[in-house]
Amino acid sequence: MSQVLVVTSGKGGVGKTTSTAALGAALAHDGAKVVVIDFDVGLRNLDLVLGAERRVVFDLINVINGVAKLPQALIRDKRLENLHLLPASQTRDKDALTQDGVEKVIAELREKFDWIICDSPAGIERGATLAMRYADAAIVVTNPEVSSVRDSDRIIGILDAKTARAERGERVDKHLLITRYNATAAARGEMLTIDDVLEILSCPLLGIVPESKEVLRASNVGTPVTLNNPQSAPARAYFDAARRLKGEQIPMLVQGTTASIFTKLFARKAA
């Protein structure tokens, strides 16, 4: 059974593309067949974060227009043979992305992949609504900061109203992924805590990705953080989140803090 996920947030710059790449690589690393789709027509970046920018020949719009077949547009990752990218086009014509076209592409991908992860553009316009349109579940990426939380609330409302599932009277499962979290600042009362964000958005938590230089380092070299430094705190947080997506029960830790190291030691002994 394939799962279609949308990684969305409303606000830009909170870590949608980073999270798409990191989770896609984590799921593919564990053996699943994964495709990540860039829906940010005109401003594509998932290719760059995955280090595939020089290998793009055809894109999503080409497939929708019938210029290329789907297999021609899919780029296989050089490190993980299970991981594929369907890039966005750099054309400025956003109308090229049609609802029927997206529906057909997703249906075709469902036959070949276990996970189809749609990287949404920021905002609530066409690109964003089409990215979420055929999703079974959504990952709402939020920073512990007022404007990001407000926009996430808005996006959650749209997920409940404008997706194909919502229109059929079904549910789109929503998972909150808190990124750029700084446990020290939260403890000092300088940043919203995890509990604050959960209470305000009342959405189940998928993971907590700590603020880390590793994320920038990974994007600099074009490798998902989960592959570039799998032992780093953000990578471990993404691996945990990927396992939760698969339905595994994993204790929620803020990776990289002292508490988590102790808990990890005890967890290992117990296992």
Binding site: R150, D153, R154, R188, G189, E190, D196, I200
Partner: protein, 88 residues
Amino acid sequence: MNLLRFFRSGSAPVARERLQILLAHERRAGNQPDLLAILREEILAVIGRHVTFEPDKVQIKLDRGKSVSTLAVDIEIPNNRTAGALAA
């Protein structure tokens, strides 16, 4: 909440309180126009089956009170047409 702010010296409690107030407001505001649009469409469809009226001579108002809300539907129906419809 004020007690909490007293103990936690940072600005995060302020952020939390502002968000809670804002989102409570926005969620209500976000739902209201949609509900009214649906009500308007469905009520007019039912009435339109029996009487003829001008769509722009319709007023629908939703007043939200503390314990009760009232929905007021005001439709102007020309007398001659009503009589015809009721007689038929």
